[in-house]
Amino acid sequence: MKTVSPKEETPFGRFVSDFFANKVATFGFLLLILIIVLAVLAPWITPQNPYDLKQVTVMDSSMPPGSEALAGYTMLIGSDGVGRDLFSGILYGLRISLTVGIMSGVIAMILGISVGLTAAYVGGRTDSLIMRLVDLQLSFPSALIALMLIAILGKGVDNIILALVIVQWAYYARTVRGTAIVERGKEYVEAAACLGLPHRRILFRHILPNCIAPIIVVGTVQTAHAIGLEATLSFLGIGLPQSEPSLGVLIANGSQYLLSGKYWISVFPGVALLLTVVSINLVGDQLRDVLNPRLQK
């Protein structure tokens, strides 16, 4: 990232210095970066590929934190029930959780933006029909909708992503429509229309850029939400299959060992999930404060 000294009062520079003025948010941001880097680099930094059967041995199963594996490395936070190094498993699980969360977030964002912009720009009956649908969906808790969808669609990676997209799109649509309607009423849009610019250009070059701030805020919150929801569904056994062991799947597997006192198998994947969600929420909270023009001095 380009560093901007606070003296140059470019909008971006001010945004950066405003953002990092809050220590807790800075901590959240750094934590999030660390988590993403660890997840991306997982294949190169973990002592073991937990899903390469040749590297896993039952002899290592359910070892407490700090034990030495047969292969000679130290299992920092122990191993799971089938002998996989937990640290390696968590980093690989993070990859899956983040991928599912971000992918569903991006698809939902694109879908929501398109629908929201259409509703705002076309207006009339199309608008009220779309917004009726959005309100109807938002009146049900997202977890319940996801459950219903999984009940209908069945398990599997594609279906989970689809369910998460359907749960999230309405938030984007409502946000974008709200902002776009305000923007549409402003004079510069009228001016652009008077110049005879095509609709597409007005929408994407003039209205959309003004919706970016709220979209980013909703995006962070929703991504955190999607990651948590996926973990919940996977924990319930109706989310991702064992072949795609996200953090939720790891926690579910570990929960069988909980009563026998082998706490680490479910505790540490949970800590990883918690840190991920909290760091995204901290960043999102601060983004909302910084990007909200009403709060700006």
Binding site: S139, F140, P141, A143, L144, L147, M148, I150, A151, I152, L153, G154, A224, G228, A231, T232, F235, L236, G237, I238, I251, S255, L258, L259, G261, Y263, S266, V267, G270, L273, L274, V277, V278, N281, L282, D285
Partner: protein, 307 residues
């Protein structure tokens, strides 16, 4: 909605193979299919379903063989008990903390309350449930981790809150379910308090020389309770939805756990019936919230009389 659920469930898989033993011959399988009515064309199945639904019959469970509606209503009591206890906990903990944070916004303890409530939003419910079991059941051995305890009937209501054993089983799951809502209640109460204390009628009440207890407990609370009750009423539906997670963790024999089992075992009528009941429940809750709202707010009451 019913169309979507019904046809969607048919696509997922064939429940027959879960019901017959692996060494059953084709004749056995055919018999099961005929008994379940699965041999008829899917459109006919749907028409039969709608006919039954209109008469209050949502079909029989494939697994248990009894009526899906009956099966769910038998499990509903446990879920409602859990949800109501969680709601009570959320109010009993959330409102005092929110009031405190709103009345003394600059105190350190208020900041701690608000920061913890952010954490409450972020914590994954199911993981917190596991941690509760780990700490209170496994490590400390204070409370049982699974199942519903003894129940007793009092005033026609059968519930586990009337027995000590039942209560000890109820505490952990209810606290787990209440967690998210506690944060919500704290934030709502705090915002309402901060705004309410600025109002003229609060200043006027203070100018009358009333005690702080009366100003806060009657004048302020009665006003901020209106939005809180409204939001909580609507959130009660989400408590029922989230009880799916809590019930699974704590093996609570409610309808949420029944749903998950039914989804896993492809017990279609039960899933459909559950979803129908939930939708109906949401409608009822919305109506109830409107009623309570008009009781609490005299301004609304007048408008309705005027109609």
């Amino acid at each position: 909605m019913s169309v979507l659920v019904f046809f969607g469930l048919n696509i997922i898989g064939d429940p027959v193979y879960m019901l017959v033993s692996p060494d059953a011959d084709q004749e056995d399988i055919d018999r099961v299919i005929r008994n379940l009515g699965l041999d008829r064309p899917i459109l006919e199945q749907y028409v039969l379903f709608v006919k039954g639904a209109l008469q209050g019959d949502l079909g029989n469970s494939f697994i248990f063989g009894e009526s899906a509606l009956g099966l769910i209503s038998r499990h509903m009591g446990a879920t409602l008990e859990l949800a109501f206890t969680a709601l009570f906990l959320a109010i009993a903990i959330g409102i005092p903390l929110g009031l405190y944070a709103g009345l003394y916004p600059n105190r350190m303890s208020s900041r701690v309350i608000m920061t913890s409530s952010i954490l409450g939003f972020s914590l994954p419910t199911f993981w917190v449930g596991l941690m509760m079991i780990l700490i209170f059941s496994v490590q400390l051995g204070w409370l049982p981790s699974t199942g519903r305890g003894d129940t007793a009937t009092f005033l026609g209501i059968t519930s586990s809150i009337f027995t000590l054993n039942g209560l000890s089983h109820l505490i952990l799951p209810a606290a787990n379910l209440a967690l998210l809502k506690v944060s919500l209640v704290i934030r709502l109460t705090r915002a309402g308090t901060r705004e309410g204390m600025q109002q003229d009628y609060i200043k006027f009440a203070r100018a009358k020389g009333l005690s702080t207890t009366r100003v806060v407990g009657v004048h302020l609370l009665k006003n901020i309770l209106i939005p809180i009750v409204t939001v909580l009423g609507l959130e009660f539906g989400s408590l029922i939805a989230f009880s799916v997670v809590t019930e699974t963790i704590f093996a609570w024999p409610g309808m949420g756990r029944l749903l998950i089992e039914s989804i896993l075992q492809l017990d279609r009528p039960v899933v459909v019936a559950y979803l129908m009941i939930i939708v109906a429940l949401f409608v009822v809750i919305n109506l109830l919230v409107d009623v309570v709202y008009s009781i609490l707010d005299p301004r609304v009451r007048l408008k309705e009389q005027g109609k």
